[in-house]
Amino acid sequence: MDVTIINPFIASVTDVMPQLGFGNIVLKEQIEKSKKITASGIVLTLGIVGDKKGNVAYSIDTEGAKQIASTMMMGMPVDELDDMAKSAISELSNMLTANATINFSNDGINVDISPPTMLTGEDIELSMSKDQVMCVQFDIDGIKLEINVALD
């Protein structure tokens, strides 16, 4: 498993999430998957170009996304994933990926990222740009966040 690809994302989660008001961040699992991934709830994907090329996909279940949006909006109750809550989640994916690019540049790898694309649904089948996809799962205050990275 190529840890140089996933470590910048792990560091990003452990740096960014506490700043947003999350307390307990546990890295649950780190595995290598094949090209196809299944996800339910919210999926956000961002393109990456530069010294490395590929994409990253974040997935969070709907309940988790509501909790994240609520915490990001200073504890405002979020009963449904309205545009405001979606925008918060979208901004989170942007922050996490932007932070990962800073971590990459500290390793001498320069990359740029695109705006996120957000999808919602059940059992979404994702085909990433590469056959080996690095996957990490976090438990963040009881919320499951999965990050899939395909980078060449």
């Binding site: 994907t45 994409n55 545009d83 695109s114 705006p115 999808l119 919602t120 059992d123 085909s127």
Partner: protein
């Protein structure tokens, strides 16, 4: 640099006169001048200038405080600090409140010109992008389908699109990265994707995985060709496309309302294709 509306803030009427002459030489319109902070805040809100030159020492406050107050209400206004005083600490404070550049007095014309040019170059580029991207993507998808699929192809712009759209079965997202970043989303049903794959490869045994590969490459070609066309208009766009991500499933909703984008419905003999493409204005970096 014409059509840029400027306000000059400086506690010295001599400095205002000097700056006014330089800015007018570049064809800019001076819409207001202010000798102190309270006047500057009031006039900024009234005139909403595109650019403010800001002195750092003002009789009733400082340029940092004044800029912070002005930027609270005006998102699109750009502020350049012009002051006799310049050190690392004040530059950092200026950056923090959203001032875009710092020039030390006495300012010469060429330094002022190049600072303003760089500051507004992104705006100009965004305007050019905004008025050309639709045509580039329409042209790109039309010529691909005409060449590869043939038959009757029509590309219609969807005049008003909601914040979200429902997927017909398979969606592809491609990120576009450059001076201004963007995104291309392509969506069609599995039947349409399979039909196109079979037609292009002239092979009826194609399966859904082949269709996913086709759609991924199809989107990549459309994005690549359109971005090349746009880069040809102005190399400063520097647009590059990221590899595609393909989504497949029932009841998938795609958010498209988060950035300025346009949607198109493409009708072909093998079924409809939905295309959404949009760009967001890249931030002006510190100069």
């Amino acid at each position: 640099m014409e059509n840029i509306r400027v306000m000059i803030v400086d506690d010295s009427s001599f400095s205002i006169a000097v700056l006014k002459r330089m800015l007018e030489k570049d064809g800019m319109e001076i819409v207001a001048t202010a000798l102190n902070m309270s006047e500057a805040i009031k006039k900024a809100q009234e005139m909403k200038p595109d650019l403010i030159t800001m002195d750092m020492t003002l009789p009733d406050g400082d340029g940092i405080e004044c800029s912070k107050e002005i930027l609270k209400h005006l998102n699109d206004t750009k502020i350049i600090a012009i002051s006799a005083m310049m050190d690392e600490e004040i530059i950092n404070r200026a950056k923090k409140v959203g001032i875009k550049g710092y020039l030390q007095k006495p300012v010469d014309q060429s330094d002022l010109d190049s600072a303003i040019e760089r500051l507004f170059e992104g705006e100009e580029l965004y305007k050019v992008l905004k008025s050309n991207f639709e045509e580039a993507f329409k042209e790109s998808i039309f010529s691909f389908l005409k060449r590869e699929i043939g038959g009757e192809i029509t590309v219609e712009k969807v005049l008003t699109h909601p914040m979200t759209t429902n997927s017909s079965g398979i969606s592809v997202a491609i990120g576009i990265i450059g001076r201004h970043d963007g995104r291309l989303i392509m969506d069609m049903s599995e039947d349409t994707a399979l039909g196109m794959t079979k037609k292009i490869l002239q092979d009826d045994s194609q399966k859904i995985d082949d269709a996913i590969n086709f759609l991924s490459e199809f989107t990549n070609v459309i994005a690549g060709n359109a971005c090349s066309l746009l880069n040809g208009l102005n190399r400063s766009f520097g647009l590059r496309v990221s590899p595609p991500t393909v989504f497949r499933g029932k009841d998938i909703t795609i958010s498209i309302g988060d950035i300025m984008s346009e949607s198109f419905l493409i009708k072909t003999d093998l079924g409809d294709v939905f295309m959404n493409v949009g760009f967001q204005k890249g931030a002006v970096e510190w100069m």
